[in-house]
Symmetry: C2
Subunit: 212 residues, 2 copies
């Protein structure tokens, strides 16, 4: 019944996603027209709608793809660690940070889309849901790492894994934003590694600063 092989259909879908990636990354979501995407993909204006219900649906598909991609990279980085280091949550976290840094350097297009998704999330509930879901998964893994690290004595006792994970992901995201604003203005690997290695004080562990 398939007019074209399943694989051909998937390939065309990928082709459109790739075109969307190129367009959205170089011009942003709003400045990109579906006609741009179609032209970039070398198909007619109607074809993308045979694979995606709407511009937003195409964007969401791309976001999902990036998410899978980044997760695979991180997992590959963990898998490639020597056994000895894979036992150390801190070493794992640093490997993940390094993998993300490498990913940002190698795949700036997909990162642009990730950043844009976050921006769009502020006003588009559907995109917000997708971003939140991706965030929740990342967060869970990070919390697990920090919790294990605290248990192993690699971070100070009393460190709050939830807060630590939040600060780590916030820092990575902020670094990405800075990188896109001023590419090359700092060393990604150094910054990412510093973030992964930084101990996070438990809240209240230091006396509250003065008035305010």
């Amino acid at each position: 019944m398939p007019k074209i092989a399943e694989s051909a259909r998937a390939a065309r879908r990928d082709q459109i996603i790739a075109a969307g990636l190129a367009c959205f990354a170089s011009s942003g979501y709003h400045a990109t027209t579906m006609a741009d995407v179609a032209e970039q993909a070398g198909v007619s204006k109607g074809t993308p709608y045979l694979y995606f219900d709407s511009k937003q649906a195409l964007f969401l598909a791309m976001h999902e793809r990036w998410d899978c991609d980044a997760g695979q990279r991180a997992n590959a980085a963990i898998a490639s660690l020597p056994d000895r280091e894979r036992e150390s949550p801190r070493a794992v976290l640093r490997a993940v940070a390094a993998a993300v840094a490498a990913h940002v350097l190698a795949e700036s297009q997909t990162c642009r889309v990730l950043m844009e998704a976050r921006a769009l999330a502020a006003y588009e509930p559907v995109i917000a849901a997708a971003v939140r879901a991706a965030d929740a998964r990342t967060h869970e893994q990070l919390q697990g790492l920090y919790a294990a690290g605290v248990a192993a004595g690699e971070w100070p006792a009393g460190t709050d894994p939830v807060l630590a994970a939040r600060l780590f992901s916030a820092g990575m995201y902020g670094l990405m934003a800075q990188w896109h604003l001023a590419p090359g203005s700092f060393s990604w690997p150094d910054a990412a590694d510093a973030l992964a290695a930084t101990p996070v004080p438990a809240p209240g562990s230091l006396p509250m600063a003065g008035s305010r």
Copy 2:
């Protein structure tokens, strides 16, 4: 010769900026029309163009306004510290972090606009320039604080003030992004304070993690 007093003109300008803030914060830059802004301000569709050349110019004016506001808040927070603490760079940094946290909680509208400006900066060179300029100023102050803190022994010797400042601002920005994505999901004051109190390892101070 002006038909209206200079003060009246400034008031009208402010009125339009305020309307823009409300509209851009609630709907975002692209979804907000100049007609929306005009209606919100209670003026006709042509009036905003008597005060701003374009939609983008209006947005830039708002961004500048926020920037001044935030800087003033931070300076006020520093000024209100007891003398003893004002001598301590770390205490100053924590006060600034607390001020920013308070600002985010009290003025979520302006923060939304700041976030959006960063997102727009990816594809709008004029906005990018404005954001970069604001960033550079912030960064300079933070670096000064960290440098003074290292000199005073409040951060570990060898801490790189530039990297530390970058990680702090990245963290604050990332926290803002998380807050907008899931408001109320964490304690801003705690997170901001942890960020300000965190020591940042010098790059290379720890052995590089595994392969890659």
